[in-house]
């Protein structure tokens, strides 16, 4: 506990240093180094706490914040787990950011150094806050810091809109949470979480709270249709900040959901989970479909975050449902799947954003249409990106698959539930999740194939060079963990078992004989087991064997030549015959996009003999905007126009208003007196 608080304090110091020493050339090294150190302390503390079986029972109460309540701080097992995730992300982001800052030293950009530690500190505070006020202060400070970080690129067009939308949506979320806590704290206004736990809310109040929390935390996590800000903001920020926002901050939102739905609200009702399942499925599928439509690398990654959040929310929904139906072990399985996916996603999403940042640094472009062939020029980045892409596509034996596997195991228990509607819903959700996973695979083949493989599509891509050590280190660490966790997930699962136990009063391995530490076979999935380690070993063994055999016995001769491109060839960087991002997306667009996004391809084919290249242009509309946000915006605009007339009236009319107000009030009094 003391460690966490002092680490947070140290982060504030770092922020101050960032302001004071911004002119120094060594400032980035100091600030990012310091941040990394602080995060490392918290990571160690959290790991130790979890290993020690659960967090701190006794919290702290500081005499600040709301006068008659003070600020309650407490880190139980759940907080400890999320502290682990957040601060690990913080470490890698600091490492990468250090290199990134050195690569991008343009004076025009807004300040990042002071805000980066603040952002980390705010996220940590959310996780240890133990009363509504402290929670919301930290929550909104988190939004505030990240908003300013997004604005640090305010010179680029598009950023201001993104930042504005982000802050407004974030505050909408905060408002919803505010209302939810208002209901929980009731009129007597004791905002500490203990007091809230003490008296369970009425059924209707709880229902309101669930909806409000899904809106509030959901808008932060990027639940469809509240996701619109996310791709804009995440892609506008500097890459290491994008990694934090996408890989880590969304997890803090997930933490908020778990905290309220599993902890504060008391005994759940089955439909809560049903709602979450619905939203999760929608989010997962829509998110990846959006991602498939994107040309901008970072936007693509941000949308894939939306998809993964959908998967996590599905897991939470399952856990709630099973908790409500008093099958805690399965609930534990689902929650484990969710938390594991939280950890995994924070790893490979940070990794992928780092690679995007590296590509941006090397080529100065985020547009898939201008990349290509980078595997030759940025070998290390390419390998690490491949790990990330394979992991996020849930391919064994990497970590993404383990989470997916557990989640499916939980879904397969759907039939055990009493409610018929739920049984069927879970079947459908399972299909949606499978669809999302498969589409994610397609999406990242597209990402990796277009950006790193093939022939370069621009001069910049030809002249790209590998990035510096700091950035490569920042990428290598999460990549290594992606592999490690894929091969040996069990230790991590054991580590955060206390958190699961705290939320659903059971662990995933209960009522089951002891498992060897390298074996993953959770309870209740009879005979279902998975072992990445052996799988990897066998594959490696076999392929080595294969290579040896073939090169010994069969030929190992090799001749380099020109690939056959229908007659087109040559060193032209345009690589006219090559598939582009949009042409790669075309089959899937036809299969899905035409209905969801009203996507239309338009090919302009020049006459035979004309040397101009043919052009493929894709038009599509975003349903979330078309159906929800544009109407709201226009409504406010219209009202503003109406109201604005009041500014330009004559004094006599204003007097008339006053007179009418007076008369109305008098009449009200006269009536009330009768």
């Amino acid at each position: 506990m003391g460690f966490v608080v002092s680490a947070i304090a140290f982060l504030f110091v770092m922020a101050a240093t960032g302001v004071a020493a911004r002119r120094l050339p060594s400032a980035p090294a100091i600030v990012y180094g310091g941040s990394a150190a602080a995060c490392a302390v918290v990571v160690l503390w959290a790991a130790a706490t979890l290993a020690g079986g659960g967090g701190v029972a006794e919290g702290w109460v500081l005499p600040i914040g709301l006068p008659w309540i003070g600020t309650h701080l407490r880190a139980d097992a759940l907080s400890a787990f999320f502290l682990l995730i957040v601060n690990f992300g913080g470490i890698t982001a600091s490492l990468f950011g250090w290199g990134y800052e050195r690569a991008h030293r343009d004076s025009h950009a807004g300040p990042v150094l002071p805000l980066f530690p603040l952002f980390l500190a705010a996220m940590n505070m959310v996780l240890i806050a133990d009363d509504a006020f402290a929670f919301l202060v930290s929550w909104e400070s988190m939004s505030l810091a990240s908003w300013l970080l997004v604005l640090s690129t305010h010179r680029e067009e598009g950023t201001p809109r993104a930042a504005r939308l982000y802050l407004i949506m974030a505050s909408f979320g905060t408002a919803c949470l505010l209302l939810a806590f208002g209901l929980l704290a009731t009129a007597h206004g004791d905002y500490s979480f203990d007091a809230i736990r003490a008296h369970a809310p009425s059924v209707s109040a709880a229902a309101f709270c669930v909806v409000l929390v899904l809106l509030g935390a959901g808008s932060k996590a990027g639940l469809v249709p509240l996701h619109v800000w996310l791709p804009l903001a995440h892609s506008a920020a500097p890459s290491h900040v994008s990694a934090l926002m996408s890989g880590v901050m969304t997890k803090v939102a997930v933490y908020a959901m778990i905290r309220v739905l599993f902890d504060l609200l008391g005994e759940p009702v089955w439909w809560w989970g049903a709602v979450m399942l619905g939203f999760g499925a929608l989010t997962a599928v829509m998110g990846v479909l959006y991602a498939l439509m994107q040309e901008d690398v970072k936007r693509l990654l941000a949308y894939s975050t939306v998809e993964n959040i959908g998967a996590i929310v599905i897991a939470l929904g399952l856990a709630l449902v099973f908790k409500a139906s008093h099958t805690p072990v399965i609930a534990a399985l689902a929650l484990t799947a969710g938390l594991l996916h939280v950890a995994n996603h924070s790893l490979f999403k940070s990794l992928l954003f780092f690679t995007a940042g590296a590509v941006l640094t090397a080529t100065g472009s985020r547009d898939l249409g201008r990349l290509g062939g980078l595997i030759h020029r940025m070998p290390t980045t390419a390998v690490l990106a491949l790990v990330g892409a394979a992991a996020i596509s849930a391919l064994p034996p990497l970590n993404g698959f383990v989470g997916e596997w557990l989640l499916f195991q939980a879904i397969l228990n759907g039939p055990a539930l009493p409610e018929w509607s739920l049984k069927i819903e879970i079947a459908v959700v399972g299909a949606a999740l499978a669809l999302a996973t498969a589409l994610a695979g397609a999406c990242f083949v597209r990402f990796y194939g277009i950006a790193f493989l093939g022939r370069p599509r621009s001069r910049a891509a030809i002249e790209a060079t590998e990035v510096g050590t700091g950035m490569r280190l920042g990428m290598a660490v999460p990549a290594a963990l992606c592999v490690a966790l894929g091969v040996l997930p069990t230790p991590l699962i054991r580590l955060f078992e206390p958190a699961v136990r705290l939320m659903v009063e059971a662990g995933p391995f209960d009522d089951r004989a002891y498992q060897p530490w390298f074996w993953l076979a959770p309870t209740s999935a009879i005979g279902n087991s998975y072992n990445g380690l052996i799988m990897l070993a066998v594959i490696a063994l076999l392929s080595v064997l294969l290579v040896l055999v073939i090169h010994r016995r069969a030929s190992d001769r090799l001749r380099l030549s020109i690939p056959w491109g229908c007659g087109f060839d040559g060193p032209d960087p345009a690589a006219v015959t090559q598939y582009t991002a949009s042409s790669f997306g075309q089959p899937i667009r036809r299969a899905f996009g035409s209905t969801v996004f009203r996507a239309r391809d338009q090919v302009e084919m020049p006459e035979p003999g004309d040397t101009r290249p043919a052009r493929l242009t894709v038009r599509w509309t975003d349903p979330a905007w078309a159906l929800l946000f544009t109407p709201i915006a226009t409504a406010v605009d219209r009202l503003a126009e109406r109201a604005s007339r009041l500014q330009f009236m004559t004094i006599r009319r204003y007097l008339t208003l006053m007179f009418l107000a007076l008369v109305v009030l008098l009449v009200m009094v006269a009536v009330t007196q009768r």
């Binding site: 005499p63 600040i64 914040g65 709301l66 006068p67 025009h108 807004g110 509504a132 006020f133 919301l136 202060v137 930290s138 909104e140 400070s141 505030l144 604005l151 305010h154 010179r155 201001p160 930042a163 504005r164 802050l167 407004i168 505050s171 909408f172 408002a175 505010l178 209302l179 806590f181 208002g182 209901l183 704290a185 009731t186 009129a187 206004g189 905002y191 309101f208 406010v636 605009d637 009202l639 503003a640 126009e641 109406r642 109201a643 604005s644 009041l646 500014q647 004094i651 204003y654 007097l655 208003l657 006053m658 107000a661 007076l662 009030l665 008098l666 009200m668 009094v669 009330t672 007196q673």
Partner: protein
Amino acid sequence: MGAITVIVATPLLSAVILALVPDYRLAAKLNILFSAITLLAAFVQFGLEPSSGSLFVVDAFNIYLIALTAFVGLTTSVFSAGYIGHEVAIRRLDAGKLRFYHAMYQAFMFTMLLALSANNLGVMWVAVEGATLTTVLMVSLYRTAASIEAAWKYFILCGVGIALALFGTILMYLAAQPVMGPGMAAMTWTELMVHVAKVNPAILNLAFVFLLVGYGTKVGLAPLHAWLPDAHAEGPTPISAVLSGLLLNVALYAVLRFKMLLAANGAAIAPGPLMVAMGLASLLLAGLMLYRRRDIKRFFAYSSIEHMGIITFAFGMGGPLANFAGLLHMAMHSLTKSAIFYAVGHAVQVKGTQRMEKIAGLTVSHPVLGWGLLVGVVAIAGLPPFGIFMSEFLLVTSTFAREPLLAVPLAIGILVAFGALVLRVQQVCFGAPLGGAGGNAPIQGSLVPLFAHLALVLVAGLWLPGPLVAWFQTVAALLG
């Protein structure tokens, strides 16, 4: 009793003295000095026991408002010293006008402090009217067509308002006189609070309506707000700062005193619904008005209306939490808004325009000022870790727990206004700065007042001193 007399007398005397000082630089220094003395006395007041005489009353309610007024008065005088320097440099003001300006400034402080500390309905009314007259003169200081137009509008509307308030005052006496007999007693706060329970409620209600509309006009509640934006936009910025920061509070203070009377008298109608209605109206209307504004001072004037709406709503809701929130919000708003007007004043001077789209990229061209303004707007928008977040937190949560249907429009109104604030602050503080008129002139005068206020608001957002909390809680109880 001594301190309060000093507090009220100092500005009066200094007004006379400043009227005689021809040199405006000296006058500005004296202005600061006198304001400092007033503030000192206000601090001394903290040490003394709450006391009430026939003339003055000092209790939990007005003691902090007096100190706040004196403080903002001081900081504004510091800001105005730098401000007028620039105005003289660009020939918008001359020595004669400034002499008048300084005298009026202190006179204005005097009227407000008197209104706050007076123990007598009549005296308070006279003081508020005096405040109106002095500010009208200062709003029209530039003698431009627009400023005269604004002053005129301000004067007529508030004049009628004042008239109605006077009628309300008379009615109040009319109600009290049968119980307490003729004479001063029936117009003295402290006496009234004692005997009001026996007073005839019907006249009390009538009186309150007139007082609400009358003083409400000065508070700037919709639909009585029309004077406020122009008066803020066209007058000198220091005046805008004190108008938003202090005058609105004083008018609201008057309304609240009467609300206390109604609360103390059981039989009278609950004033809550009326205030809630007007508060919501102001909040929503102002929130929408913010979108179309181009003039930065008028923009923030509307934001003042919005916040007055929130505060009135809070007091209308009543109850310990909401009232606490309202009191806190009053203090926080006056500090923050005046700070914003300081920043805006500098920005307008360095950029030479009040049009927001022309004041772009402030954080790039003038980092300190730009970030100062940004922080101020962040605070006024109700984002943590600033004081306004705390009050809005308390207000929204407690309201939703009690009257969910009222909390929803409240939240919507706050969000709507928030959207406009974000839109504009990004436009003003970020993006590429335009050179053009004035371009990147250096900042005149010190930024100390700005950051002093922001620091206070920040501290208040994290930690409130014990005595203040105690005062708030007693007053919250009295407000019912």
